[in-house]
């Protein structure tokens, strides 16, 4: 292939852009029993087109962070900057795939996607909107299920519709909140492959929450590991260097795979972290003073 300078230039420019920036984000929940610091001092810069996963133990606030990026939860401190602009509340530039699909059960699959398309592209003609809905249903292989309601579909199919709905509004960033957590292992694998294929085609910037190490390795450009709450923050960021397009089978045979998997597992379950966690468990037995403070 001939060397083309412009491709390199574009690539560098793309990599250098802080497309999505999470800047000094903290979140404190105020409840009846006091104040709970969930997240503190989170800084993360994501390039355009990058696939980043957040991984951490349950309760570490990774889903809260995703909700903050979505604009559904306001941070106590800090800002989210997307394409140079500070975000103010939720909006269709950030498509969300929910853990429990969040499809409206009284609408068919096509109607669920149509609701999104019509709301975000009101200037499109009816037929254009219809085409767009059909196109995204086809993309996730659910053309036949267009007229079915979510209750008539399997969990995997529902999540596919959720992904189609989130992408049909042409978001700048796709946010996935443990989208495959509730699925069986085989279905999960299929959907991961499909997500990978779709992402490679669209090149959308993705921030995904997961607790599945293999999932993170298969999909991500970078894995962001979060420490345990309260006051969770980014513990370590690991770049995943495997070449794309990736395939699940080739990936596990690559020599680096076990190494990177080990790195992540070491962080999540390694001595330091386990010590920290058991310390906290002891502390919480003694009393809630560490966690809760008087208002």
């Amino acid at each position: 292939m001939k060397y083309d300078e412009s491709i390199d230039r574009d690539l560098i420019k793309r990599i250098e852009t802080n497309y999505l920036e999470i800047s000094q984000v903290s979140k404190t929940f105020e409840g009846a029993n006091g104040v709970y610091p969930a997240l503190r001092g989170i800084d993360l810069k994501i390039r355009k087109g990058e696939f980043v996963t957040l991984i951490g133990h349950s309760g570490c606030g990774k889903s809260t962070l995703l909700s903050i990026v979505a604009g559904l939860v306001a941070p106590s401190q800090g800002v989210i900057i997307l394409e140079g602009k500070e975000i103010d509340g939720p909006g269709p530039d950030r498509g969300v795939v929910f853990q429990n699909h969040a499809l409206l059960p009284w609408l068919t699959c096509a109607e669920n996607i149509a609701l999104a398309v019509e709301a975000v592209f009101p200037q499109m003609s009816r037929s254009e909107q219809k085409e767009r809905v059909a196109h995204f249903l086809e993309m996730v292989g659910l053309t036949d299920a267009a007229r079915k309601r979510p209750a008539e579909l399997s969990g995997g199919m529902r999540q596919r519709v959720g992904i189609a709905r989130a992408l049909a509004i042409r978001p700048k960033v796709l946010l996935l909140d443990e989208p495959f957590g509730a699925l069986d292992a085989l279905t999960r694998g299929n959907l991961q492959d499909e997500l990978l294929r779709i992402w490679e085609k669209f090149g959308t910037t993705v921030l995904m929450v997961t607790h599945d190490v293999d999932e993170a390795l298969l999909l991500s450009d970078r894995v962001v590991m979060m420490t345990q709450g309260p006051g969770a923050t980014i513990g370590r960021i690991v770049p995943i260097p495997f070449r794309r397009p990736r395939s699940r089978i080739e990936l596990v045979r690559q020599s680096g795979y076990q190494h990177w998997k080990g790195e992540i597992l070491e962080f999540l379950y390694g001595k330091g972290e386990m010590k920290r966690r058991s310390d906290r468990a002891d502390a919480s037995v003694k009393g809630p003073a560490l966690v809760t403070m008087p208002q």
Binding site: L72, F98, N100, P105, L115
Partner: protein, 294 residues
């Protein structure tokens, strides 16, 4: 599974159970039937009939032993046969057939109930959607809700200075509470995820209402409507006894003054059947809007 449970809850909807039974025998024991060796129609037709016969037997025995004043089943049918045969005779304002009496009562219920729905559903939505409004009106609702329907009658009579609107008012004021409370509950129960979807898509208020709020709440509203229509039917009979005029309630009172207990018993039976029909009609209508069953 859900349908089977519904049948148990709303048992007695014969029209609905029969076609389903045929469906099952055609297909053999389908996934719906948990017990494969059920005697056909035993628990749905034969047993209820048996119970009915036993009840009639007890009634006849009571008539013949302890209460000779109370007419037995045979006597009841014989002496009220002219009423059964022609429900729509009209011999002047004070002598109309049972059918007319029913229609007059149903009209009062329809007006009072419709008003209650028209006022109650919007209030319910407001309460469910605005916590401040909820805190503001909840104490008042809790005070007004347990008041016996008939206690409202003098208020109605004093306000409207006529029996008919007073009766309608009593229906309205008793039927409105379940509608308000169930609608408000439905609004409060809308899953957060659906609200999040609306926020992400920046749906207009109108779309938010028609595509999310309304369909999510309707099943709850219909539960309220169903309870209300039952209450309304209970109340109208009592209210009419006091207000007079044409209507099934006053008919009962009138026949008591005539000492024709056979007619009263017939009227009681008819009241029960109409109540059942109202309830199952509302239930069926509600199921049409229930996304979980549909």
């Amino acid at each position: 599974m859900e349908k089977v449970e519904m049948e148990v809850m709303y048992g007695g909807e014969v029209e609905e159970t029969i076609p389903r039974r045929e469906e099952e025998t055609e297909e053999g024991p389908g996934p719906k039937s948990r017990r494969p060796f059920r005697l056909p129609r035993l628990d749905r037709l034969i047993l209820p009939l048996l119970v009915l016969l036993v009840a009639l037997g007890i009634w006849e025995t009571v008539h013949q032993t302890v209460a000779p004043m109370l007419p037995g089943p045979v006597q009841t049918v014989a002496k009220s046969w002219d009423l059964i045969r022609d429900p729509f005779f009209d011999r002047g304002p004070n002598n109309k057939g049972l059918g007319w009496q029913l229609l007059y009562s149903l009209r009062r219920v329809a007006v009072g109930f419709s008003l209650a729905a028209a006022v109650g559903i919007p209030i319910g939505f407001l309460i469910g959607a605005a916590p401040t409004f909820h805190r503001a009106v909840n104490p008042l609702i809790q005070i007004l809700r347990p008041i016996s329907p008939l206690a409202w009658l003098p208020i109605g009579l004093a306000t409207f200075k006529a029996a008919n609107p007073a009766a309608t008012f009593v229906i309205f004021i008793t039927a409105i509470w379940p509608i308000i409370l169930n609608t408000a509950f439905g609004v409060q129960k809308i899953p957060n995820d659906y609200i999040a979807v609306a926020r992400i898509l920046k749906l207009s208020s109108w779309r938010r209402f028609t595509k999310i709020l309304l369909p999510a709440t309707l099943p709850y509203t219909f539960t309220g409507l169903r309870i209300s229509v039952g209450i309304a039917w209970l109340v109208i009979v009592a209210a009419e006894m006091l207000t007079g005029g044409i209507g099934i309630g006053f008919f009962v009172w009138d026949e008591w003054n005539n000492l024709s207990l056979e007619h009263i018993i017939l009227a009681i039976f008819v009241i029960g059947v109409v109540g059942l029909i109202l309830d199952s009609a509302m239930g069926r209508l509600g199921r049409r809007f229930d996304y979980e069953i549909r």
